[in-house]
Every structure is written in structure tokens, then in C-alpha cells.
Subunit: 178 residues, 2 copies
């Protein structure tokens, strides 16, 4: 049996914003996955782990909020991009603050793109020991329309993947919401 | 953030015998999954976890070894069943011994049947916090013929599932072997 390695176990947790409350609020499934990791894996062994918190922003997701905005120059788009970035950072701040309170090392960053593709790309780049993903626990009918990041990553990510389903009690009336 | 629960995290690990060396030797993928769990999850926090070791025996798997046996009475079959049981227990002994040496609590038991069905059934019954499975990491073509327990369980088990792929270096020439 291998001895315990000196390096902490590096766990990547992908987090996203609430579809109901929006930034900076975390989705039910991603905050559930984060809390599960702390409670069931890290436990009291805070020096044995490092959390790698990745938030992938979907470029057009905030279109609705921009209905009243007028874009007249490249600078306006810069402001928009800047605002999106700030929102993503506020989401990460929520998780980083919790890591700090618990006393577990962490790194957090934002990427833009298709979450499932970017997550697999970042796994390849940073090589975590495993990846934790929140999952809405959708049925086969719902999946047809929304796709699931966790199923794609379980198949394609270059590291072990564990998907944590939302508690039934926390599932919104429309299970596609999160 | 929830405080650490007093109860240990209960991890079910499904283990099976080597297809090459047979009982009591563990398969490459299941001993890899066990070692990964100890090294990356349990680490030095041995009191924080309990391992639930399940071995599912496939009823006809040992047919070849019985080629020279003659069965003349129900008692002969009793002996055969008994021998199978003993073999399964020797496999578990290997893992239980390691748990004892590391100092992590464990429970181990044998069931008979179709591994994927029995594993999901046992998850429902003992309700582990999550399930660790070794995986041969087969490609799509190989999967058509052999099926994969880990994919079935990831979909159907009533708890989070993490599949640990064999190291490329440990993969036998025929990747279906384990």
C-alpha cells in the first residue's frame, strides 16, 4: 500500500451561478457539490486537500439583462465584458470565502465558453486528482433538451469524475432551474 | 457551511478477482480503485472514513476450473458452492488486511449474481455516501462485447459514483483482462 503522498489531493469543483437568482448567487447543485466535498471528503483534514474552483461563463447567457443597454463603441463592449467578469468573480468570491473560513487551500478562476468543453480542457491543463460536479438529476426526457455537463465530463474528462445530485428537497418546481 | 458530521464517511468499494491470476488475487482495476481511495481520499484521516467492501461473485465464472470435477450428488454441489464462497472470502481477506494495517474501519461481504445489479441493490440497502469502482477504461468497441459495470452503476446507483480507470502502465496486452 502506497504511503500518503506529501502533496494535497487536488479536487476540481466546477461552480456556476443560480439560474433563478443570477449572479453572484451559486446554483443549488454547485453549492451542494461544494458542501458535499467539504463534509464528506475533506472533513477535518483541511491540510490534505486543495480545491480548484472553476467557473465557466456562457457568453450569451446574460443577454436578457442587456436589453436596455446601448452599444455604440468598442468601449461599450469592453464595459460589458468587464461587468460579466466581475459577476463571475463575485460568484467565486462566495466559494473562496468559505474555503478560507474552513481553512482549506484553494484556487479559483473564470473561463468563457461551453462549460462541458472548457471543464474537460481545464482538467487536461491543471490535472486535478478528481473532478466534482453538481448535477440537477434530470430525467431522460428533460435531458434531451438541456444536455448534461456531468454526463459529458464523466465520459470525456481526463480524471475521475463524481457527480453530486441535488437533494430532492432542494429541487425547484421546474427541475431545469438551478 | 455544515459542520463536519460525527459519523465517518462510508465509502463502498466494489472489488473482484483477477481474470488472469484468479482467486484470491484482486483484479488490477479493483486494487487500483482501493489504493486510490486510501491515498487520495482517506489519506491520514483514518478515523473519518469507513470502507464497505463488496465482492459480487458471478455464478458460472469458475466453470472452467470445474472441468475435471464430477458431480454425483447434491452434496457435491454444496462443496462446489462452499469452495466458491471460500475463494470470495480470500479475496476480501486481502482488502480487509490492508484496511487493518492502515487503521481504517471496514466491513466486507460477498454476494452472488450479476455485479451491476447486485452493486446497485447493495447501495440501496447499505446507503454508502458514495461508491468507488475500478474501471478497465475500455474503448467503445471493446465495450460492445463486455459491457461495463461502472457505466451502469454511474447511471443507476442511488449514490454518487466515482470510477477509477486503470493506469495505462498496468493495462494487460488484452485490455479486457483485468
Amino acid at each position: 500500500m502506497a504511503a500518503e503522498s506529501a502533496d494535497p489531493t487536488r479536487i476540481m469543483v466546477a461552480v456556476n451561478q443560480s439560474t433563478i437568482k443570477g449572479y453572484p448567487h451559486a446554483s443549488i447543485s454547485s453549492s451542494g457539490a461544494f458542501e458535499w466535498t467539504v463534509k464528506k471528503i475533506i472533513r477535518s483534514n483541511t491540510s490534505g486537500f486543495k480545491l480548484l474552483l472553476l467557473h465557466v461563463q456562457v457568453p450569451d447567457e446574460d443577454g436578457f439583462d442587456d436589453m436596455d443597454s446601448i452599444y455604440a463603441s468598442p468601449a461599450d463592449f469592453m464595459i460589458m465584458k468587464h461587468r460579466d467578469r466581475i459577476r463571475g468573480l463575485h460568484l467565486l468570491e462566495y466559494f473562496v470565502k468559505q474555503c478560507n473560513e474552513i481553512g482549506v487551500a484553494c484556487e479559483a478562476w473564470v473561463k468563457k465558453g461551453d462549460p462541458k468543453e472548457i471543464i474537460c480542457h481545464e482538467v487536461k491543463r491543471v490535472q486535478p486528482d478528481f473532478l466534482v460536479l453538481g448535477s440537477r438529476g434530470l430525467g431522460p426526457f428533460q435531458k434531451v433538451f438541456v444536455g448534461t455537463v456531468s454526463e459529458f465530463c464523466a465520459k470525456h474528462a481526463d480524471c475521475p469524475v463524481i457527480a453530486i445530485k441535488r437533494n430532492a428537497a432542494e429541487t425547484p418546481q421546474d427541475p431545469v432551474e438551478d
